[in-house]
Amino acid sequence: MSVLEVAALRIAAGMREVVRDLSFTVAEGETLALVGESGSGKSATARAVIGLLPPGLRQSGGRIAFAGQGLSALSPARLRALRGPGMGMVFQEPMTSLNPAQRIGAQMEEGLALHRTLDARSRRQACIAMLERVGITDPERRLQAFPHEFSGGMRQRIMLASVMLLRPRLLIADEPTTALDTLTQAEVLSLMKELAREQGSAILLITHDLGLVARHADRALVMQAGQAVEEGAAAPLLAAPRQPYTQALVAALPRRGPSRALPQAAPLIEARDLSVAYPGRGGWFRRAAPMQAVQGVSLSIHPGEVVALVGGSGSGKTTLGRAMLRLLPASGGSLLFRGQDVTASTGPALLDFRLACQIVFQDPYSSLDPRMRVRDIVAEPLRLPAGMPIPERQRRAEAMLAEVGLGGLGDRYPHALSGGQRQRVAIARALVRNPAFVVADEAVSALDATVRKQVIALLRDQQRKRGFACLFVTHDLGVVEEIADRVVVMQSGRIVEEGPRDQVLDAPAHDYTRALLDASLRLPATA
């Protein structure tokens, strides 16, 4: 018998339908993955199932039945009784899904108090046991803590604990690990699966990540623009997708590119014993000890080389990337560019350095000035060095835009572009001055898989064409496979492993690298 039955579901936002005629079932104890890219309607479906559509969205048709019972027929009170012990939900964003004003103990107990007849003592015991189960050390004391005292991964565990405490028959997990780094992601997902297995809960997993589907789902339903595209058992579906869209999704998974032999040359840029410290937060009366984000790192990059800088969150990789562009001041060591020490240069020397280097940021939404037209954004770097007339700048910007596939969109503002298009603009801005060195800081992490594939291709093609050296900062080993010549692994502000791509990926020497590789969700069948 199926726990959840969705038939001909329609969800509308005003006059527009975001989900059309969607039907599926989730069987007892089964994990069904709703897969799709942003805008496919998968999250709205999850919210509709538990009856919590956000304001502005409404269910305009179809039937949702939980354990054979139609939800629309239930009174609000009956529906509430169902939420928790019947259906539980884990949200995407661990930073906002726990009430910041309540101790986690109170938040965990709340569901128990509402749905179970237990005295306070047993409730507390149950909470402690559950926290212990999800791997929170010292659970008794931690019950008294507030959410902000935990890291994102911990919060997601607590969230999970709080939901699973009620032994729901159906667990709805809406992109539960998207906001976490690779290592944590793997841990949390395994934990979720284990708990569900122990308690016999079915899982409705909402995700955009095919790797995750491959590893954790029994069945998968691929959605595109509000409609089901393809449905079936997870492994065969991914191994032999029938529908073009599914095929595109699978094709978008990273694949290792050919390794290149680069001519030996003097390093273009070189960090020697570079350290970066953030000033501690001091008050009027004392100065806190500075936090060392990068500790004595030496790294050289040769002309035309693509180096991937890999590490979990907090490893210092982004800080190192910025320090190598002198966007952050070094607290120790030195930085050499074409053999010149630029660690503390100013004025014309610094300008020369800046003219030769560029950066592409992670978030295409915040890296473009929303008040400038795309053409002006791309033309802006040509202001320097001074001398180029404005029409010439504009012409070059147009040409560059055409080159990144945005020909004719120069008059638009960033908000009129999609995420992928914006990242193309950012790349165009970075490349229009023909830099010798580019830092790409998680440049594709925020994009949907298919778009990511295209942007990586663009970046790779441009690199091959223009021959700039590139430091590719990422937590995603898949991207590394596609583009990198060399891989550098960072942990806690230090480099722990470094070597040619194939060597590092195929025969990792350091434990941390191995853990990262294990956690990275690749399609086993197609790797």
Binding site: G56, L325, I359, F361, P381, R383, A426
Partner: protein
């Protein structure tokens, strides 16, 4: 969306009406607003004097119209002064940070801890009681608020990556500040300016009420209200009319401010 439009329409209509009254008053008023007539004191409304006369026999309707010119003019000028000072301070302390920010912050705190009345009186007494005095005094009194808002938005904008991108391009700090930071303060500052406009009208009338505002016999709504107070019982209209106009003007400013906020900050419009 519906609310936004309603706010815009009502707010715009109210402000427009008051503005029209002021523009009209520049060209024409039923009587000379400062012309006294001691034989016609405190007359009730009539066909000749639509809103009656005040304690000097001056036509109340004419004075209200002239008061619109003064009150709106003072408010507009004050807002400009407050914006000019506040934006300069806010940009400097938000963008430069460090000790500049600390010093400006301390000065700002001091000004915020200072009742505007005293600041206004002090400055007015030094400069001499005049329109420019009250504009400067209130402008200084409100500048810290502007500075605080500008600083806040500068602090959040300077963390955005396009500012860092500008720096990575080799652009100078000044260029980055003017080209990429300043334009983004426009939205919060516009919203604030609209509210400020209302607050200044309110403060000017409060100061006039305490006897510290634009000096009579020039009519402002505030000093009309203050002079009407002793005749509250005999001629209640004398108190009610200017107060109602202040309220209408404020309501207009508030509604317009709300509409602007919704327009410029799409997050709230959803």
């Amino acid at each position: 969306m519906m609310r936004l439009r309603l706010n815009l329409v009502i707010g715009g209509t109210l402000m427009g009406a008051v503005l029209a009254l002021a523009v009209l008053a520049l060209a024409w008023t039923p009587y000379d607003p400062t012309r006294t007539n001691l034989r016609r004191r405190l007359r009730p409304p009539s066909a000749d004097y639509w809103l009656g006369t005040d304690e000097f026999g001056r036509d109340v309707a004419s004075r209200l119209m002239a008061g619109a010119v003064t009150s709106l003019g003072v408010a507009a000028a004050t807002v400009l002064v407050a914006l000019a000072i506040g934006i300069a301070i806010g940009l400097a302390s938000g963008f430069l940070r460090g000790w500049v920010d600390r010093v400006l912050g301390a000065v700002n705190d001091t000004l915020l801890a200072f009742p505007g009345i005293l600041l206004a009186l002090g400055l007015l007494a030094v400069i001499g009681p005049s329109r420019s005095g009250i504009v400067l005094a209130l402008g200084l009194a409100y500048a810290p608020t502007v500075a605080r808002v500008v600083r806040g938005s500068v602090l959040s904008i300077r963390e955005r990556e396009f500012v860092e991108a500008s720096r990575a391009l080799g652009n100078s700090e000044a260029y980055t500040l003017l080209r990429h930071v300043l334009p983004h303060t426009a939205a919060p500052v516009t919203v604030l300016a609209t509210s400020l406009f209302g607050w200044v009208i309110l403060s000017e009338s409060a100061l006039s009420f305490l006897g510290l505002g634009v000096p009579p016999p020039a009519a402002t709504w505030g000093n009309m209200l203050a002079s009407a107070r002793p005749f509250m019982q005999e001629a209640p209209l004398l108190s009610i009319a200017p107060g109602a106009l202040i309220a209408i003007c404020l309501l207009g400013a508030n509604l317009l401010g709300d509409a602007l906020r919704d327009l410029l900050d799409p997050r709230d419009g959803a």
